[in-house]
């Protein structure tokens, strides 16, 4: 079975410096999901999650990087997104993962929401480095 994404496109890195980069990152995520034949609901989920995380980078760290990785196999669609920044870090991860908690007057639904949207969610943070890894796993759609 052929992989739909050429190998050279298996990973793309988007530097996050201003709000247009958020658009770029979520567009890239949606494109990849579409190319891997995920349904429009999953495309929207992935794009929204990327949007949340990259917006956090801009808001709290100023700048960072978003990597969208296609690690799909023949049996499974596996899209991983790694968002990293060198900002002040999240002081209390447990608190940050609580619904309704926000240090910026936002809705406080971002991080816990993203966790609910995704199949995998790993957060590491210390002052000077925050890394979020999320992934979406789906069984391969049958190709005809």
């Amino acid at each position: 079975m052929d992989t739909l994404i050429p190998q050279e496109n298996a990973e793309s890195t988007i530097p996050i410096r201003d709000s247009t980069d958020i658009l770029k990152a979520r567009h890239r995520a949606r494109e990849l999901a579409a190319a891997l034949r995920l349904g429009s609901a999953d495309q929207t989920r992935l794009a929204t999650a990327v949007s949340e995380l990259t917006r956090n980078v801009l808001q709290y760290a100023g700048e960072g990087e978003c990597r969208i990785i296609n690690a799909s196999s023949d049996h499974e669609v596996y899209i991983q997104v790694v968002v990293e920044d060198h900002g002040p870090g999240i002081p209390d991860i447990e608190l940050a993962m609580r619904d309704g908690y926000s240090t910026s007057g936002g809705l406080g639904a971002g991080l816990p929401g993203v966790q609910r949207l995704m199949d995998e969610f790993h957060l590491t943070s210390r002052p000077g480095y925050t890394c979020l890894m999320i992934a979406m796993k789906r069984p391969r759609a049958l190709s005809f």
Binding site: A41, T44, R45, T48, R55, L107, A109, G113
Partner: protein, 290 residues
């Protein structure tokens, strides 16, 4: 010896200005025409400006060689010429590398002309070429600066005009206003949308405001937060808000995110939203009876 010491670029230009100008224009126009077949290039103006530029170079290099570290004086003839040139071409969408090409072509031509025309064993030739290289490099930088400045101004203007265009508040019927939200909702736009909506509600004494989000590509918590604040402000002015246009994918995602618009009436389509809005002011759309 005295003869070779007197050799200047000014002399070369004195004799060969027209020939160099022609070669310059041909080369530049050839490239531009190939790359920008749809851009009308005013050749006469370009030729006139280029001749003036060569005149300025001739004057600059007629006496002593310009000192090391020479910079074009802002507002001088040569700087103004380049500035105008750059601004004009930036506006016409000529790319930066093709704008800079203009100077690099004449630099090549001048260096070649100097090498050809220099008397044998000319002692000043090296100094002359180095100096000319420096001067033309500085001119390139001037050109590039002007180009960037223009482009940045264009971009700033465009984003301003986009901002102006993007948030119309429409009076749908007596006491019913509507805002179609389109595109990216950031803090600045959210503030503007809120302002316009509140103004419209006050102006038309609206009791229903329809907020259509069909054109918002991604509804994440930040966008949802902005919309909620807009809605809260509208409600404070006594308007009931009907939100329309959340698509099925968006609805699922919002629920997962934990965002609910529970206090707001929502309708799937703008059509249903308009019907609801009209109903609330005691109106409905009926077919005309024959």
């Amino acid at each position: 010896m005295t003869e070779s010491a007197d050799f200047t670029l000014g002399q070369v230009l004195e004799i060969r200005q027209e020939e160099l100008l022609n070669a310059w224009m041909n080369s530049v126009l050839l490239t531009w025409r190939r790359k920008y077949p749809h851009t009308a290039i005013n050749e006469d103006l370009l030729r006139l400006q280029s001749r003036q530029l060569l005149d300025e170079l001739r004057k600059l290099f007629s006496g002593a060689i310009p000192p090391e570290g020479w910079e074009p004086v802002p507002g001088s003839k040569i700087a103004t010429l380049l500035y105008d040139f750059s601004v004009k071409h930036a506006k016409h969408g000529i790319k930066h590398n093709d704008t800079v090409l203009y100077i690099s072509v004449i630099k090549q031509l001048l260096i070649r002309a100097l090498l050809q025309d220099a008397p044998p064993a000319c002692r000043v030739l090296n100094t002359l070429i180095i100096s000319m290289d420096h001067v033309l490099d500085r001119l390139t930088v001037t050109l590039y600066d002007a180009y960037l400045e223009t482009r940045e101004r264009i971009i700033a203007q465009q984003s301003l005009s986009l901002l102006e265009l993007s948030t119309p508040v429409v009076r749908l019927w007596d006491r019913v206003v509507m805002v179609p939200l389109i595109g990216v909702i950031d803090t600045q736009r959210a503030r503007q949308i809120t302002e316009r909506l509140l103004e419209a509600i006050a102006k038309y004494e609206a009791t229903v405001a329809i907020l259509d989000v069909t054109g918002v590509p991604v509804l994440d918590t930040s966008v949802a937060g902005h919309i909620m604040k807009t809605i809260a402000a509208a409600q404070m002015l006594g308007a009931q808000v009907v939100m329309t246009g959340i698509n099925p994918d968006g609805a699922q995602t919002l629920v997962k995110l934990g965002v609910n618009f529970a206090e707001v009436t929502t309708r799937a389509t703008l059509r249903a939203g308009i019907a609801e809005g009209l109903l609330r002011v005691g109106k409905r759309i009926v077919p005309i009876k024959e």
